[in-house]
Amino acid sequence: MTADDNPLIDMIENILLTPSSDFYIATILHDPNGGALDPRTIDSVDLGTISLEGVQIGIVIRNLVVRGLSNVQVAFDSEGNPEISVDGDSVTFHAVLPNQQAGYTRPPDVPAVAAAHGDLDVTIAGQPMPPGTILLTISAVQDLKGVFTATEGAGGLSTVEITFTALSVGLDLAAGVMKITVDLATVFKETINHILNQPDMQASFLEKVNAQISSPDVLASLSQVATKARAALGTN
């Protein structure tokens, strides 16, 4: 089915694309209570162990709080069509950050530049270092992809359930959109900063973050927030 022959697809586009809509893409991804993508607290990201001149350095990020990832809008293809596709009851959208759509007002708790901060647990040769901090910024998101389904609940359409089945953040790391800064009381601080800002290391980090935000728990939480916003589809 294409947008040309099914007005439902046009309506879903309108719903996701209209800034005033309750189901606007930036709106459903934002929940001040932390239930959606922005803000999102990731308990821990284990970056594993890297070997530096024979010394094993273990890096684990804890309590990583990511803010600003709702500052997105639906992407448009080269022909100016929104990148939204509908297959049965499944809707896939692609979005970009920052949101530059007229009519969108960034909520006060959504920073202009997506950023994250967290605690840093580093072990050197198995020995824990004093706690450090990590700060990262994401200046642009090339492809925030989401997939959700809308299905009827037990109570008919008034209990329609929005279920997110996938969510991922795609970054053009080669373009240097991500910048990581750690602060740690060790002589390895500069080295660790350097390593973490390597594209392959960032890719590994991103992969682990994506694994977290597409975990069943997070998708379920996001689904819950989106289901509340389903009012935009017509229910109360």
């Binding site: 586009e13 719903i15 809509s21 935009a232």
Partner: protein
């Protein structure tokens, strides 16, 4: 402002003066008056009437004439008895005819604590000869008279009496009858009864020194000397204003006698309850609503009439039965109510704009299933308000109701619930405006229509019933819409179902319908005016 009683009087007047009105023409009604033994009341017969002494110059002249006649007859010198110097006039047997020959003129009504006091002027001699088989003589007083004079024999002081007997016929002119009646409510609460009682009937002059008495016949039976002179003296005495006054007093006494008023009131009460039952349908004893303090009537009579209306609106046997009235409206037709196009203002629903919302071929069926509950139908002196419940009555029997181009049959009231159907088209605004069209059907339960009804007009021919503030209230309603799209589209139909199920969308549709209805308030008011007029007119002979 015309009072209710003024309205009734104004309505009745031309009809009681219309010989072609078989139900209300006054002379025909008056000829129906019966005494309690069943004999006709008119003309009024009465026994002995003592009119008292004829005084003044003419009375003294009669006394002198009788004295002279007695002296001649008995060859004795007499004089009028100083203790009873004037002749006494008695009417042993009289008839008052021509009362049916009357036309009501001016009326006056005054609201009082228990209802109204009404004065009605009735002009005599309104018709001549015979109309509709009823003889129409002028107001004529006739019968027997006796004039008795006490005398004293001058020589002995003995008292003697001389009496003249005869017949008279007098035509009374330059006068009118003033009927005073009280319309009141007796009893209380559910047992109230409306009564109209004539309390006085008085003949009064219409010009100075009136009424005028014209003797057309005067005879003296007694074979008296100087009979011509005696008769002349009697005629002079009887036409004397003082005697005329006594005659009129006697006539008034006859009119206002208990027996006469009783027969008048008996007929009045039959006719009144007959007309009210005819207009509103009969009300069983003890079936009237008990009024709370929210009812604000000018008088208890107004409240009683309103209570009859309230009962009639809910009585399937009454021509006022609300579902029947609504079903009988044929311009506009309200059952079913149709409207070719209703424009609904643009909607913003959950942040999305919907524009060009048009409902086409709107059809609302079952709205004539209307009930005006007694406890929310409230009189406020010059208007009343109600909150009509739609779709709350069970389906009724089939009635024939008028339509342009021929009557149709339908159940009155129609089976609940109220249903709504329409075509719709709308555009969802956004990145790509999405035009949508289809059909919507809905059942509507628990809907109410508050309204204010203001009757105005000086009489039934000018009666105007104005409906205002008519607007359906669906705040407590259960509305179940079903949307079908053209072409069909299951998921989208479900989304639009949700759209039309939203109370704020329903409110907007309703507001648009209410606006359309408000534009037709005039025509609908006119319909109800016609229906109310004909319900009244059918009972009072047009």
């Amino acid at each position: 402002m015309t009072t209710l009683m003024g309205f009734i009087l104004n309505t009745i007047k031309p009809r009681v003066n219309d010989p072609a009105n078989a139900k209300m023409w006054l002379p025909a009604l008056l000829m129906q008056l019966r005494n309690d033994d069943g004999t006709p009341t008119l003309p009024i017969h009465a026994g002995r009437q003592d009119l008292g002494a004829l005084t003044g110059t003419n009375g003294a002249f009669v006394a002198d004439t009788f004295n002279s006649v007695y002296s001649i007859m008995n060859q004795v010198n007499t004089e009028p008895d100083p203790d009873a110097a004037f002749p006494l006039l008695t009417l042993p047997d009289v008839t008052l005819d021509g009362l049916q020959n009357m036309k009501p003129g001016n009326t006056n009504d005054r609201p009082v604590a228990d209802g109204y006091i009404v004065d009605i002027d009735l002009a005599f001699g309104a018709y001549s000869a015979e109309v509709e088989g009823i003889p129409m003589p002028p107001l004529t007083f006739s019968g027997r008279y006796e004039i008795e004079q006490k005398l004293r024999v001058v020589a002995t002081g003995a008292k003697e009496t001389i009496t003249g007997h005869g017949s008279f016929t007098v035509i009374v002119t330059d006068c009118k009858l003033v009927a005073t009646a009280a319309a009141a409510i007796t009893g209380s609460g559910a047992d109230r009864v409306n009564t109209i009682t004539v309390t006085a009937l008085q003949i009064v002059g219409t010009v100075p020194n009136a009424p005028n008495l014209n003797f057309t016949q005067l005879t003296l039976d007694d074979d008296l000397p100087q009979k011509e002179e005696v008769m002349a003296a009697i005629q002079d005495a009887l036409t004397d204003p003082q005697a005329s006054g006594a005659f009129i007093t006697a006539i008034n006494g006859m009119l206002s006698s208990g027996a006469n008023l009783e027969s008048v009131n008996r007929l009045l009460s039959e006719k009144t309850s007959g007309v009210l039952d005819g207009i509103f349908g009969p009300v069983a004893a003890g079936a009237l609503p008990v009024d709370g303090s929210e009812q604000k009537a000018l008088t208890p009579v107004d409240q009683y009439m309103f209570d009859r209306v309230r009962l009639a609106l809910a009585d399937p046997a009454s021509s006022w039965f609300l579902p029947l009235q609504l079903a009988s409206s044929d311009d506009p037709v309200l059952e079913p109510y149709s409207n070719p196009q209703v424009d609904v203002p643009d909607q913003t629903i959950k942040g999305l704009a919907y524009t060009h919302i048009v409902l086409t071929d709107v059809l609302v069926s079952g709205a004539s299933n209307a009930n005006a509950p007694l406890d929310v139908t409230i009189l406020a002196t010059s208007s009343f308000s109600s909150r009509i419940a739609l779709g709350s009555l069970p389906e009724g029997p089939t009635h024939s109701v008028p339509r342009q181009g021929g009557s149709v049959s339908m159940p009155v009231p129609p089976a609940p619930p109220v249903t709504f159907s329409a075509g719709f088209s709308l555009v969802q605004q956004g990145f790509k405006p999405v035009p949508l069209k289809g059909n919507i059907v809905a059942t509507i339960a628990n809907v109410f229509v508050p309204m204010t009804v203001t009757p105005t007009g000086a009489d039934v021919d000018h009666l105007t019933i104005t409906l205002s503030q008519v607007s359906a209230d669906v705040s407590a309603a259960q509305i179940s819409p079903t949307v079908s799209l053209d072409p069909p589209n299951g998921p989208l139909e479900q989304i639009l179902n949700m759209l039309f199920a939203k109370p704020d969308v329903q409110q907007q549709i309703l507001a648009a319908l209410n606006t359309a209805l408000a534009e037709q308030e005039g025509a609908i008011s006119q319909q109800f005016t016609q229906i109310a007029r004909s319900a009244i007119l059918s009972q009072i002979g047009n």
